[in-house]
Each structure stands twice: as structure tokens, then as C-alpha cells.
């Protein structure tokens, strides 16, 4: 039965500040299937994106191929620094991780605001939104990754057991990007310029990651900084595995573990702190 006692409140002009009780919400919460939801959100993104493109997934391949061609022409043909014959492969090893980072972080950052209709109406766990955005960018990366592996074989490099290292290092890398996207998407709800800051940073990062130059030309005083850049770390590990046919050095893997844990931890803390006020600001 509804308690009929509430009529007394109609003369109550007390402001919320005068009410000392902190807000308390007891609920069983959203008891859905998070993995099923995540899969559906990724599929939704994928379908929407590709249904509006006449060439479909070819677009995922054209961008890295064009970039690879241009960078090879400029830095191999015109400037003429690196003379290794596998230079296009070398560049692609850098482009695939970088492209994922840039597109996943930018769509992840705007994801909360872009999903306003959903966030304001349904009590789904909010963390799913930026994670789904990052993972659906991963669909492009899988296609580009297939291209990369195909090119590796075309250059006559043989797969070995070191290829298994690709799995853990990519899991670490995706975790790192998810952490960044969680934090950035939450901040973007309150400060809408965040997306432009992130876009600018990804442009800067293109030059600070050894995509078209080799790690060996970096002066010694900057090496430590590079090693702690998780994007650069993944690029180095990819080259170790695919071109040199070696497992990545342990120090690099440790750096990636640290980066993934720190980014995810900070991302979740920032997201959790800002989450209760999303509704008013989206």
C-alpha cells in the first residue's frame, strides 16, 4: 500500500541543504548480461559504419595502404634514410597500433556524449559505453592486422612461436586504451573541449611514435621516455615479433603491464567519481 502520510510535505519549504541525510540508493541494479550487451553494441557500431560505405571494409585497408605508400615514398625514396628492403612492412608495424590508438581514443572520448539518448534513459552500466566504442574501433584493427600478417608472409618472413606474443601484448594495449577512454569520456561530459585536446594529442603522438623511423636512431637521452610510451612500446614489440622473429624483451612487456594497470586504474577512478553526475550534464 502507498503510505498516505506524505501530505505533510506540501508545506515543507526546506532546501536540500537543510536536509542532513546523504543520498542513499539501495537497488539490485542492472542485472543484464554485460558481455551480450557489449557484443551487441560493437555489432551495432560496426553495422552502422559499414552500411553507409559503398566499399565496406575496403576502407579499413585503403587508409593504412595509402599512408604506408606515402611514408615509404618520402622516407625511403625522397629523404632516403632507411635502406632496408622491408621498409613498407616496417611502417605498417607502426601504423596499425597507432591507427587503433587514435581512432579508439577519439571515438571513446566522445562516446558518453554521443550515447546521451541511451545514458539518460537506461540504467546500463556506464563503463560499457566507452569500452564498446574502443572495441568497435578494434574491428578495423583486426582487418588491418590481417593485412599486416599477410604482408609479413609476402616478405618471406615465416611465422614462429613468437607470434603467440601478439595476443598478450595486444590485450595489454587494448586495456591501456580502454583505461584512457574511460577517463577521457567522463571528463568530456563536463568539459566538451576534451575531444579537441585528445585529437591534437593524437596528431602530436604520430611524430613521437617510431612509425617511420627506427628506434635505433633515437638519441640515448630520450630512449627511456620512448620506452615508457605504451604506443611506442607496442610498435617495438610488433617489429621484434614480425620482422626480427624474436619475442619482445621482458622490460618492454613489463612497461606495457604497468601502463595498462595505471591507465585502467586511473580511468576507472575518474569515471567512478564523475559517473553520478553524468545525467545532469549530458
Amino acid at each position: 500500500m502507498a503510505t498516505p502520510s506524505a501530505t505533510g510535505t506540501q508545506h515543507d519549504r526546506g532546501t536540500p541543504e537543510s536536509d542532513p541525510s546523504p543520498p542513499r540508493v539501495t537497488r539490485m541494479g542492472w542485472r543484464g548480461d554485460s558481455l551480450f550487451l557489449l557484443q551487441n553494441l560493437i555489432l551495432k557500431d560496426f553495422r552502422i559504419r559499414y552500411r553507409n560505405m559503398s566499399l565496406g571494409i575496403l576502407w579499413s585497408l585503403i587508409n593504412p595502404l595509402v599512408m604506408m605508400g606515402v611514408l615509404t615514398f618520402v622516407f625511403h625514396g625522397v629523404v632516403g634514410g632507411d635502406r632496408s628492403p622491408a621498409f613498407p612492412l616496417f611502417v605498417l608495424c607502426g601504423l596499425v597500433p597507432y591507427n587503433f590508438f587514435a581512432s579508439a581514443l577519439i571515438t571513446g572520448t566522445t562516446s558518453m556524449v554521443d550515447s546521451a539518448g541511451l545514458v539518460k534513459r537506461l540504467p546500463v552500466p556506464r563503463e560499457i559505453v566507452p569500452v564498446a566504442a574502443v572495441l568497435s574501433s578494434g574491428v578495423h584493427t583486426v582487418i588491418q592486422g590481417a593485412l599486416l600478417l599477410g604482408m609479413t608472409l609476402a616478405y618471406g618472413l615465416r611465422p614462429g612461436t613468437q607470434w603467440f606474443w601478439l595476443i598478450p601484448i595486444w590485450i595489454l594495449y587494448v586495456t591501456f586504451v580502454c583505461g584512457l577512454a574511460l577517463g577521457a569520456s567522463a571528463i568530456n561530459v563536463f568539459i566538451r573541449d576534451t575531444r579537441y585536446v585528445v585529437e591534437s594529442l593524437t596528431v602530436v603522438l604520430f611524430w613521437l611514435v617510431p612509425i617511420f623511423y627506427s628506434f635505433s636512431i633515437i638519441p640515448a637521452k630520450y630512449i627511456e621516455v620512448y620506452k615508457f610510451n605504451p604506443v611506442a612500446a607496442l610498435v617495438l614489440a610488433m617489429r621484434n615479433i614480425l620482422i626480427d622473429g624474436l619475442p619482445p624483451p621482458m622490460s618492454l612487456v613489463v612497461n606495457m603491464v604497468i601502463a595498462a594497470c595505471v591507465a585502467m586504474g586511473l580511468g576507472l577512478i575518474i569515471f567512478g567519481k564523475l559517473k553520478p553526475r553524468f545525467y545532469e550534464h549530458i
Binding site: M1, A2, T3, P4, S5, A6, T7, T9, Q10, D12, G14, T15, P16, D19, S21, P22, P23, R24, V25, T26, R27, M28, G29, W30, R31, G32, D33, F36, L37, Q39, N40, L41, L43, K44, R47, I48, R51, N52, G117, L118, V119, K120, R121, L122, P123, V124, F190, I191, R192, D193, P276, R277, Y279, E280, H281
Partner: protein, 247 residues
Amino acid sequence: MSCALRFDRVSKTFSRHTETLLLRERLLEMVRPGKRSRFEALRRVSFELAPGDSLGLIGPNGAGKSTLLNLATGVAMPDSGAIEVNGRISSLLELGAGFHPDLTGAENVRVNAALMGLSRRETAERFDEIVEFSGVRDFIHEPLRHYSAGMTVRLAFSVAVSAEPDILLIDEVLGAGDQAFYQRCLEKIQGFQRAGKTMVLASHSSELITMLCQHALWLQKGAVMAMGPAREVVEAYRESAARPAAS
């Protein structure tokens, strides 16, 4: 658990200028804090519903009905007070949140079912039932942008009720379907009530509230004006609305 849904002195305020969201304003705000005025959307609202109760929310636009439902759903947090929810809650607030015009009806059903909290198995099991109830089977593999507004609402309503919630929240959504579908929705809602489900219905229609709800709560500018048996509260609300500018 004795209650399905309980609000205890729940207040919620919104700031008036939430559109100033750029860095410049944020920095200015740090220099000169506390310049925003806030308004109270809900003011110390208390009520308690036992399982099987139905409550109608009545009041003019901007009275706080939707805010109350949003707090109950859990998409918004109260500023003070306590909210207790026992059971799976599903809202028919603005149906079709998460629907996308480029996806087909079937694809939208799956995404929306997952959003509503259905598992993979439940979605597969209930898919036919959902499509059947919506009455848009012939168009289910067409993109949603070819649907009429009525068809979209029917599809969304069908997904929402398939979630089998313990507590159902409804907010003025039944308007867009045609008369036959409206009738089927009412039957479905009454079926929910017979099954002992709890319901909160926000509506401008006094008829709908007296027909579907035992209790009613009259909100005005965020405050509870009256609460009790639906017929009495609706009557009081009508009388006050008939008096021009009585406040």
C-alpha cells in the same frame, strides 16, 4: 522484502545553466564559484509501494514526474534522501532508447533487448514473441528509418514488456500507436498487474490513472500535493486545475 519501491525524503535539484560546458566557462567558474542558480525538481518526496501496488503520478508539465521516474530507474542520482528498489526494474520511458534508424527492426530488437537486461538466451527465446506482439513482422528486416512512428513505438513497447520486470515504469508512451495497439498495451499492463507486478505510471490523463492505478501521487513544482486513493487524488487535482491561477 516488504516493499518494492520506496522513496524517503528524496530531493533532486538541477542547475539552470548546464549548457555552459566549454573549458572557458569551467575556468571562469573556478575563479568565481557559486554563480549558478539551481531549481528543485523534487522536494522531499516520500512514498512506499508494496509488491503489486500501482501508483499514478499526476501533475502539470515540469512538476517532477519524469525526474521521479528517472531516479527510480537509476539513471539519475538524488541529492538527498533514500531510494530503495527491490526487483528488476524496467522503464517504458521514451521508448526506443538505443534504436538506430540504419539498423533493421530485428537488429534493433536485439540491441534493445540487451540494453533492457535480457541475456543472449532470453533474447533468442523471446524474439518471435516480441515480433509477433509488435505486429511488424513483414518489415522486421527493413531498416528502421522506413518505419512509421507508430510502428517504431510498437516495436519498442514489445521489447520493453518482454523484459518481464518486477517493477514497470511508464511515462506517457502509449500515444503513438493506433487504437488497436493501445488496447493491446492496456491489456498487457493489466496482465502485469494481475501477475502481481508493481507499476508507476506518469500521465496527464486522469482517466488512464483512475483506470490502471490504485494509488495516485499529485506533484506540483517538485512537491507532493496529495497522495492516496487514485480517484480522490485525481479529483483534487482536477479541481485545482480548473481554478485559474489559484496558487
